[in-house]
Subunit: 223 residues, 2 copies
DNA sequence: ACCTGAACACCGTTCAAGT
DNA sequence: ACCTGAACACCGTTCAAGT
């Protein structure tokens, strides 16, 4: 609503105050604080205290800027973990989930903008190495990695959405208002379904399922 | 680019030609043919041969219309399936995936607009009933359903994105251009990773993993 | 009630101009 | 080179008016 503080000093931009890094940092701040739907080139320019077109010296378009923000967030430093291959995969998956939950708009960037494969290269390399070392064959390792990735993305995006819905008291737990004649099981399990919202228990549950399935596959690969 | 055929008859809208159903159908057609990013209220009005504001008699906003389109697409008629609980879950999961692939913009609506739980009630009831009948306890059944749902959403949205990327020859298979010194495993497995794009094999692989994990959980629940 | 016309308050971005 | 000013071609939507 409020566009500018009424008596802002409105100083002219100092020369060379901008750079790709400065712009990405400011964009990240706007995205974190206002959300992706409130992000506009004009809002970003206001935060940078420049006119909107100044950003276009460094990025050709809003989409290109979004790609840069996404790539900055995906450059995860994955510290090596001790333990079984399951433990190592779990650690990486948790790290990716945490990064997404910390910057919820990231899921939108991941599912909206085309990916070349370079952006997720760090976590891909880490997981694929763990799987290869564990003894998975080449195709199984590749498919397992994609499964883990899509699983984490799906779980995280659901989690973000449900916490957003959960904030809104009107929408909270609308399940029990469904007709139990048509949806007997669903209405009966409404309390348990609401339990799946919030916290990491649901994420761990799903991850365990996939890992258990992978253990089974590994035995097959080795046989 | 071309906004209107130059000599279109431009007949006045016949009285009462509109209705929520007619509008949703037209919106669906625009979304299917032009994609969600090209969907505007003005484009929809053009297809309906009315002025943009006519739609607002039936829907308060573009978002409300989007919700109606989403709900129309999620009203799946799930024919009952014979077989094991795994076969039944598989059939429902495949049906949901197919519906999303048929209308790729649906994934955006699902992950963008808040869900109350009513929209997915049909598939939720179906899966939860199968799981309950199979002997899962209440909490496991609830968590398993959410896992299956998020898994399908994640897999489908990845699939859509990868096929879109795959269309673009510039982006195709950029994995082998990565430095193999830093990403030895990733570059070595590039062919196998490219195999995961397209077709349903990757989807089935992931689904099998989850189902295998669930079989394991079921034995624990029963013990 | 249903639909239109004109307008408002936004967008991203082009283009020419300033330093 | 870096940044600005003005403008263009869009948006969704409000509001008053027509039938």
């Amino acid at each position: 609503m409020q566009q500018e503080p009424p008596d802002a000093p409105r100083r002219r931009a100092t020369r060379n105050s901008l750079s790709p890094a400065v712009i990405v940092t400011a964009a990240l701040a706007v995205l974190d604080e206002e959300g992706i739907e409130a992000f506009t080139m004009r809002a970003l320019a206001t935060r940078l205290e420049v006119r909107p077109m100044a950003v276009y010296t460094y990025f050709r378009s809003k989409d290109e800027l979004f790609d840069a923000v996404r790539d900055a967030l995906l450059g995860l430093s994955l510290s090596p973990v001790e333990g079984s291959w399951q433990d190592q995969v779990r650690a990486i998956a948790r790290r990716v989930r945490e990064q997404i939950l910390q910057h919820p708009f990231l899921i939108t960037l991941l599912l909206t903008r085309p990916l070349s494969g370079r952006e997720t290269a760090d976590s891909a390399e880490a997981i694929l190495r763990v799987l290869s070392d564990a003894g998975f064959n080449r195709e199984t390792a590749a498919r397992a990695y994609i499964t883990l990735l899509t699983h984490v993305l799906g779980a995280a995006s659901w989690e973000i959405q449900m916490t957003a819905v959960y904030q809104d008291p009107d929408r909270r737990s609308q399940l029990d208002t469904l007709p139990s004649s048509r949806y007997p099981t669903l209405t009966a399990l409404a309390p348990e379904l609401n339990l799946t919202n919030g916290g990491s228990a649901q994420f761990e549950f799903g991850l365990d399922l996939v890992l258990e399935g992978l253990s089974h596959k590994l035995r097959a690969d080795r046989a």
